[in-house]
């Protein structure tokens, strides 16, 4: 039998621990003394960068982190200032955000929704992050956006291309600078018509998750509108590796175009294998067989090697654009890291500046003030020409870059060449367009 003893010090310790424990569940509303979650009280403000540091998109995540680091450096007055010099707003002066030094924490999404939510939650709860950004997958972006809405912090999405992010899953606290599947299709369709005519039969291989579904729906609708037929739509598991058993049926399907709604490693493998199966050398319906990859990236082009030559696709941005903002960013990034930035890096850098600018213009870190400052905001000088953050769905509207794989690249940084820059008007759609229906922003949540 044991005899319990109580001391005054023990009771005080236990009481303090119990009090802290009871207070813990109210973490999202712990700043009730302040008006919103994680209101900065000291001389610094913390941003949370949630990117894939492991998993199939780790290289893109690494490039995103480089861009975030560069953006923070520029916000705090370091380096050459990058796009701060070309940004139309000029509200940012290199003294941090509202005079507070910008600090950041990072999390690993692992390209998995549950891991991404857990790391974002940790950054909000433990590190006091007031804004979350990053991501290389729409599944992750949708999940983290939902979490940020519940927690009362702003989510500035990184690379996410599904229509759903600013469609059925849009949230008041979430903002997307990156373009989407509809915009890719709208920009790409006229180019495809010029290249391959109006009498084509397309066979879709599609990654079986939110991004793939909306990409397939968008590109099929756009190509059917110009007269193409859709021979087949086949869903492939994410990370299938060997796509040969999905590619072989294309040979006898009557199709003369293969649309690869794949991204990252899946795109590298499916494209490489489609070329190995001789699709690009064969004829179908009396025409040369063609392959289309609606969403491109320089990093993917590097993975696909020679298979990418001549393949058309679309990008949110490309480092070879000639505007002043792009040149300033490429110079800053290139001198710091020794190679040009990817489009994933660009969108993350821009989102960080846009958040800082919105806070500065609002004069307040309150998420609802930031939302108000960003809604309907028009800006320029960040690499995409004049851009609008539309109030109704928090989607940026700007030019889209149509590209194709270079036939004779001069080096590993010139694997993609720009075909045309599609103007904003051509890729703009109504906020209640059927492909984006079923969602609503809801109310801004400050978390208090």
């Amino acid at each position: 039998m044991t005899r319990q003893t109580f001391s005054r010090r023990g009771v005080l310790k236990s009481g303090a621990a119990t009090g802290a424990g009871l207070a813990l569940p109210t973490i999202f509303t712990a700043s009730s003394a302040a008006a919103f979650t994680n209101a900065p009280t000291g001389s610094s403000v913390t941003l949370g960068f949630n990117v894939p540091q492991t998993g199939a998109y780790a290289d893109e995540g690494a490039d995103e982190l480089r861009a975030f680091e560069l953006a923070v450096e520029h916000l705090n007055g370091g380096g050459d200032g990058g796009m701060l010099q070309t940004f139309s707003s000029q509200a940012l002066d290199g003294t941090g955000i509202l005079g507070k030094k910008v600090e950041f924490v990072t999390g690993d999404t692992q390209t998995k929704s549950d891991a991404a939510r857990a790391s974002a939650q940790s950054m909000i709860q433990k590190d006091g992050a007031i804004m979350i950004s990053g991501g290389s997958s729409s599944g992750v972006a949708v999940a983290v956006q939902g979490l940020c809405q519940e927690a009362g912090v702003i989510f500035m999405a990184g690379l996410t291309h599904s229509n759903d992010t600013t469609g059925k899953d849009r949230k008041a606290n979430g903002f997307r600078h990156f373009f989407n599947a509809y915009m890719s299709a709208a920009a790409l369709a006229p180019v495809l018509q010029n290249l391959y005519g109006t009498d084509r039969r397309a066979y879709h291989l599609t990654a079986d998750y939110t991004w793939g579904w909306t990409q397939e729906e968008s590109i099929a609708a756009a190509t059917e509108a110009m007269g193409w037929q859709t021979a087949e739509k086949v869903r492939t598991p994410l990370g299938a590796g060997d796509f040969s058993s999905y590619i072989a049926p294309v040979l006898n399907s009557g199709a003369d175009v293969l649309v690869l709604n794949h991204y990252g490693g899946d795109m590298v493998n499916s494209l490489t294998q489609a070329v190995q199966f001789g699709l690009r050398e064969r004829q179908a319906n009396g025409k040369d067989f063609q392959i289309v990859v609606p969403l491109y990236s320089e990093l993917m082009a590097r993975g696909a090697g020679q298979a990418i030559k001549g393949i058309p696709g679309s990008q949110n941005w490309d480092w070879k654009l000639e505007d002043a903002g792009t040149k300033a960013f490429v110079k800053s990034f290139g001198e710091k890291y020794g190679f040009p930035p990817s489009q994933a890096a660009h969108t993350c850098y821009v989102q960080t500046l846009l958040y800082a600018d919105a806070v500065t213009r609002a004069g307040d870190f309150n998420p609802c003030a930031v939302v108000e400052a960003l809604e309907g905001y028009e800006f320029d000088g960040l690499g995409n020409g004049p851009t609008l953050y539309r109030a109704e769905d928090h989607q940026c509207f700007k030019d889209v870059v149509v590209v194709k794989g270079a036939e004779n690249p001069q080096d590993e940084f010139h694997l993609v060449e720009i075909v045309e820059v599609t103007p904003t008007e051509q890729v703009t759609y109504a906020h209640d367009h059927p492909m984006f229906a079923g969602g609503s922003l809801g109310e801004c949540n400050p978390g208090a």
Binding site: T54, G55, A56, Y57, A58, D59, E232, V234, P237, G239, G241, D242, S244, S245, Y246, A248, P249, L251, N252, G264, G265, V268, N269, T272, Q273, Q276, F277, G278, E281, R282, Q283, A284, L299, M300, R302, G303, A304, G305, Q306, A307, W319, V330, K331, G334, E335, F339, P340, Q410, D411, F413
Partner: protein, 343 residues
């Protein structure tokens, strides 16, 4: 008919990879009694031997071309591979082009060494431990190995093309009386299928027709008795671990033009290869090979649109469904031996 033939061909090359990995797994299990979850990582390391050789062969001397500029507007640094400087552009270019087949020469000693270090340094300490411990430690080792590879090579797939002579595809359909382009099959996949056949035949011949192989087979059947005869069976089993590592490594080297290597590729093949081993019968080498090809072909058939329209999602579960059916009807697998993994 042509669609069925295409899927059989597809299944053959996928089945070749499964069979080669499962063969190594079975060798290790049959000799050492170890369930080696790091075997997929050996396949991946083999693939990265090809990547490494490709990188070594393209190591370049840098010269400045003042006429051209880089992306920052500075004078362009032109990279010329050393092998092209040493042997001339034509011979040097051919050597670089043949990096994947040449990587076999690199992979054999590397994989032997990796297998030896892995077995002597870690796995031998787990011989007498439960299978669960072996699975945990080898699975952990696999994760460590793939993270090391990711640290040095990144996470994205790295293109490692086949030599120019094997690019393109063969119109098999014309030979069989079908229309042109009805049955197309890439040259390299045919090479892989024949390569797998040669490796499998060599392993069987080695076990069947050499004294060393005879002792190993005897050890697999009755380890204690062979030991009582004064034969150092442990040393031979260590060499068999090395041999299994070489088989997995060579399978990985030659697979790189089919699937651009990434650090995770071993894990993708590992689970399926274990199912192959179980379906073939634990400890049965012919069973592993048979089940490898069988499941590869079945997986290909399950990916046909006609099959998927009848049974959506069947392509994802077919291998596991077959495993369940086989284990229910033949608990020891297709060619399993009595007493293996049985109390």
């Amino acid at each position: 008919m042509d669609a069925i033939l295409i899927q059989i061909l597809n299944g053959l090359d996928k089945g070749s990879a499964y069979a080669l990995i499962a063969l190594g797994l079975t060798l290790i299990f049959g000799t050492l009694g170890v369930v080696n979850f790091a075997h997929g990582a050996l396949f991946m390391i083999g693939a990265f031997c090809a990547v490494t050789l490709q990188k070594l062969l393209t190591l370049s001397v840098t010269t400045i071309d003042p006429e051209r500029t880089d992306f920052l507007g500075n004078p362009l640094k032109v990279q010329t591979p050393y092998v092209e400087n040493w042997f001339g552009p034509e011979v040097g270019g051919t050597i670089v082009d043949w990096a994947v087949p040449l990587a076999i020469l690199l992979a054999i000693p590397v994989m032997l060494l990796v297998g030896f270090v892995m077995e002597r340094g870690l796995i031998k300490h787990f011989y007498k431990r439960p299978h669960a411990d072996q699975i945990l430690v080898t699975f952990g080792l696999a994760i460590v190995l793939q993270e090391i590879v990711k640290y040095f090579y990144g996470a994205n797939p790295i293109p490692t093309p086949a030599p120019d002579a094997f690019r393109g595809s063969l119109d098999i359909g014309v030979w069989l009386g079908f229309d042109p382009y009805a049955i197309i099959y890439p040259y390299w996949r045919l090479v892989y299928f024949f390569f797998a056949g040669v490796i499998i035949a060599a392993v069987f011949a080695f076990l069947q027709f050499t004294t060393f192989g005879m002792v190993v087979r005897a050890g697999m059947a009755d380890r204690e008795t062979v030991g009582l005869l004064g034969i150092d069976i442990d040393r031979r089993f260590t060499l068999m671990f090395g041999l299994a590592a070489v088989v997995a490594g060579l399978a990985g080297v030659m697979y790189t033009p089919i699937l651009s290597p990434n650090y995770h590729m071993g894990m993708d093949f590992l689970v399926l290869s274990f199912v192959v081993v179980v379906v073939g019968g634990m400890g049965s080498l012919p069973g592993a090979v048979l089940a490898g090809f069988l499941l590869g072909i079945l997986q290909s058939f399950a990916s046909m649109n006609e099959v998927k329209s009848l049974l959506p999602g069947i392509d994802q579960i077919i291998i596991y469904l077959v495993a369940i059916v086989i284990l229910l009807t033949r608990p020891r697998g297709l060619m399993g031996r009595r007493g293996v993994m049985e109390e």
